[in-house]
Symmetry: C2
Subunit: 202 residues, 2 copies
């Protein structure tokens, strides 16, 4: 027999290509980036890229998994099972801010994926699943707070979505450099505004 297929190497190469693609996409947008741009950015040849991905669409499909990965947020959920509701929320917010900072450069790509999602049912479904996992996570923390009498009786789903709106809204305004204030501060204070309204006075 001849040379064996090196699965580990395939994964490494695909990662190399995806990373180059995200960088290029962040710079010039999904449609504005040609395969030749990705070729240049990756340091590989066009033939190599088409060896691993049979089309630009397939490449983008793979890239989507990096952005809409419910598994990752589920892992966060596992950590949110100790402490008061407020402490759990603080942990969640801390994680979110950390993640946002890490992804800042690629935020325009995510925003563009939202646009595509509004036209493409398949992508919209991925975004929806991701959204639902996140909301469910926050919702469970709010529910816990209501049960432990930290929060007054509220609709946990609605509150969870509202907090998510603050998070996504802050990220949007931040990526457009609309606010003069610090992104982390604005996000924390925005969420606290909501929490102030549902906290039970001592």
């Amino acid at each position: 027999m001849a040379r064996k297929e090196n699965i580990q190497n395939i994964a490494r190469r695909k990662e190399q290509i995806i990373k180059a693609a995200i960088t290029a996409f962040a710079r010039t947008g999904l449609k504005g980036t040609s395969m030749n741009d990705i070729v240049r950015e990756s340091g590989l040849s066009k033939g190599a890229i088409y060896w691993y991905y049979k089309s630009k669409d397939e490449l983008i499909s793979d890239l989507l998994k990096e952005f809409f990965d419910p598994e990752e947020i589920k892992k966060v959920g596992e950590v949110l099972v100790t402490g008061t509701a407020l402490e759990r929320l603080e942990k969640f917010i801390g994680y979110t801010i950390e993640e946002m900072n890490k992804m800042q450069r690629f935020r325009p790509v995510l925003q563009e994926l939202f646009v595509i999602a509004s036209r493409d049912q398949k992508i919209r479904k991925m975004a929806k699943r991701d959204f639902r996992v996140g909301v469910a996570l926050l919702q469970s923390v709010i529910e816990y707070g209501v049960k432990s009498k930290e929060f007054r009786k509220v609709d946990p789903n609605m509150v969870a979505i509202a907090i998510f709106e603050i998070i996504e809204g802050t990220a949007l305004f931040w990526s457009l450099d609309l606010m003069d204030v610090d992104f982390e501060k604005q996000m924390r204070e925005g969420i606290n505004l909501i929490l102030d309204g549902i906290k039970v006075e001592k």
Copy 2:
């Protein structure tokens, strides 16, 4: 004498082209829509469109003014000078919801403009000016509420931005069909959550 330049007619034609462009862009995106698509949608010829706009970029530039028009929001400001702070806010929210419903079909175009704005300084400046006018408006209402003792002492700028985040966040989730609840209800309740926290108890 030459035929008189019919300014009214030019404006009508331009509007016809812009309207067709927005419709086409909403369907297939800015880059994904060719000039020929716009030609088809408008019912005019390519020559006609290039008679009124000398490039696709110039067309998009004109289109931007429809989406980032500070004058329009300023008009709303003029109406928000009577009643209690809460009544003024209610007026503002009502106007926002009405506007969102009207623009629903074109929301993906706006979202796409945000993406472009994150890469294009000129467009970002337009978005920023629009944002600032809106925030200033909301902020003045909050300030009024603080002065009239309806609201407790809060940072009006921060609260205004938070409300805007709820608005934009709801619009985003709505356009992606992420929420199962009604968009208007979610938006109102999200904002009320914030207001509950800053209202002075009677």
